[in-house]
């Protein structure tokens, strides 16, 4: 594999005229052509759009004008974010031929900063899954071991960066769908605070849990992308009016004296011993850098998965009601009446996991069950969030494994939905509480499978988790 580019190395090379954005985009399309048949990360290529943007950047460079922060950087977008005039499927058959008439805010901000959108990335259907095996099109193979999953639901986004087919990508994280694939593929993945990045243009799965965030090779690149996409958007009323700090400038601030919490609930049964060791070694490296390691407790952690699967599926059942195929989507042709059309289309257009979640969500919201399930889950969500509030009175970040195991094999968990859900055990808490979380590679197991270190931070304190992650990255080498 050729030397990995970073955002800065690309921008500098273009500014210095040793490289053109157009040539680089072509180079990446060649890489995709060579590598993607065995990986399956891409669903759609947007060559015209990429060429037009690259030409625009090259003109700026030729004129000697200052270049925007992501100038010429080849990126790709998880196919749950709409891209104007470029097919967007959400990994589903029901949107097979959907061509959006507008752009997702995060995508337009990336392009405004000069990024070259190469294409749309494969994912679990409607972002529902932890392995990308629920894509209605084809699965994605982990570039580090092609017999294994890349993780999900942003499997394509993680694999594209890991295989050098994009310098950075955007994914979405509702229960761990950025952090877990980042951990499985050995790249950096960041889920920001809820409301940090606009969700306008993100095809909704669970509106109180969905987040957009970056994948990259380095923490610095993740920080650069976050700075580009974060900030209030009038088109998303849940996007926060909190000012966006300069995450990159803050990276080099020494971490000496910062308190790193270690919660025993994240190191219990079910944690693979090699993952435990790798994460403990990583935490030790932070101690060597002057961090104080403090034991903390997050007592309601064991209730996170059931809570998540009530809240997420309930919200999904509501969000996916819009796929009535009146205004867009694949329509079943043999329907004689409108009710038939709704039922047959949704039956044919949705995969089994999506149907399962819609059923569960509808059930927990139905009359007679709402209080017992949905309302109960909302109260437990308060308790889980309070756990973090209490912990963050004592520490600045919390360190944990990202996943209990490294990447599992393709096909291994498809027949056991509950086993698949339990793989999210260390990630769903951050979605329920809305706090930021980052996964950074921290070693490999004996089969050379990547392992991820996860860092959680206070609401809107991405700067601190990025700083600690960066310090760890430097110490790790």
């Amino acid at each position: 594999m050729t030397t990995a580019f970073t955002i800065e190395s690309v921008r500098n090379a273009i500014a210095e005229r040793t490289l053109t954005a157009s040539a680089l985009a072509e180079d990446f399309y060649t890489r995709i052509k060579q590598n993607d048949p065995e990986i399956g990360a891409f669903l759609i290529l947007s060559k015209e759009r990429a060429a037009a943007k690259a030409a625009e950047i090259d003109k700026l460079a030729e004129a000697g004008n200052p270049l925007p922060p992501l100038a010429g950087v080849p990126v790709a977008i998880k196919d749950v974010m709409v891209t104007r005039d470029v097919r967007t499927t959400a990994g589903s058959k029901i949107l097979e031929n959907f061509v959006p008439p507008y752009d997702c805010t995060a995508v337009s901000r990336m392009e405004a900063a000069g990024a070259i959108v190469l294409g749309k990335l494969n994912c679990d259907e409607f972002a529902m899954g932890s392995s990308t095996e629920n894509s209605a099109y084809h699965p994605v193979h982990n570039p580090r071991d092609k017999s294994r999953v890349p993780g999900g639901s942003s499997g394509g986004s993680a694999a594209a960066v890991a295989a050098g087919m994009a310098v950075a990508t955007l994914g979405s994280d509702t229960g761990g769908s950025i952090r877990q694939p980042a951990s499985f593929c050995g790249v950096v993945g960041l889920k920001p605070t809820y409301g940090r990045v606009s969700r306008y243009g993100l095809i909704a799965f669970a509106s109180s849990l969905d987040h957009i965030g970056p994948f990259a090779n380095t923490v610095k690149d993740a920080a650069l992308v976050l700075r580009t996409i974060a900030g209030r958007d009038p088109m998303d009323s849940t996007s926060a009016g909190v000012p966006v700090p300069n995450y990159v400038a803050a990276l080099e601030t020494p971490v000496e004296g910062l308190k790193v919490g270690v919660a025993k609930e994240y190191f219990g049964d079910g944690l693979d011993p090699e993952v435990r060791t790798a994460v403990e070694v990583a935490i030790q490296k932070l101690a060597e850098r002057g961090c104080e390691i403090v034991p903390v407790s997050l007592p309601h952690t064991e209730y996170a998965i059931p809570t998540y699967y009530i809240v997420a599926t309930a919200e999904a059942s509501s969000n996916l009601a819009r796929y009535d195929v009146v205004r867009y989507g694949y329509r079943a042709r043999n329907a004689r009446t409108l009710p038939d059309m709704y039922r047959l289309t949704r039956e044919g257009g949705f995969g089994m996991e999506v149907k399962r979640r819609i059923m569960l969500g509808t059930y927990v919201l139905s009359a007679g069950y709402y209080d017992a399930y949905y309302l109960k889950a909302q109260r437990i969500r308060t308790l889980l969030t309070r756990d973090f509030d209490e912990a963050f009175k004592k520490v600045d970040v919390i360190a944990a494994p990202t996943c209990p195991t490294p990447a599992f094999r393709l096909g291994e968990k498809v027949n056991d939905p509950l086993a698949m859900y339990l793989a999210d055990i260390y990630t769903v808490t951050a979605n329920l509480a809305g706090i930021p979380g980052i996964s950074v590679p921290c070693g490999e197991n004996h089969e050379k499978l990547p392992i991820g270190l996860q860092l959680f931070g206070r609401h809107f304190d991405e700067a601190t988790i990025l700083r600690v992650a960066h310090a760890y990255e430097q110490a790790r080498g």
Binding site: G195, Y303, E347, M359, K376
Partner: protein, 112 residues
Amino acid sequence: MKVTEKDVTYVAGLANLELSADERVRMLKDLNSILDYIERLNELDTDKVAPMAQVSDRYGADESRPGSERFAYAAREDVRYGLRESLDHDVALKNAPETDGTFFVVPKVIER
């Protein structure tokens, strides 16, 4: 709580999903195993805990104001000419499976 076949039919109807016979069998099994697992939430006494619908309330809502005024951060001025542009009519129709140029066309609502 045990889910029955009747429940599966009822819920599928609510969700406008037409499940095949095989899917119904699988669904019955999966829903029961998941709901079984979810039962453990009843170990927690949450009577005195306020529900949390979403995170944004923590840093968006103004608790000193009554009712929906708490969410002023999400509102705009109620002015006629404060609206953003909408999609052009033909752009809005572009992805439709069937149109007559003006409206979306669907099969008839009622079968006689």
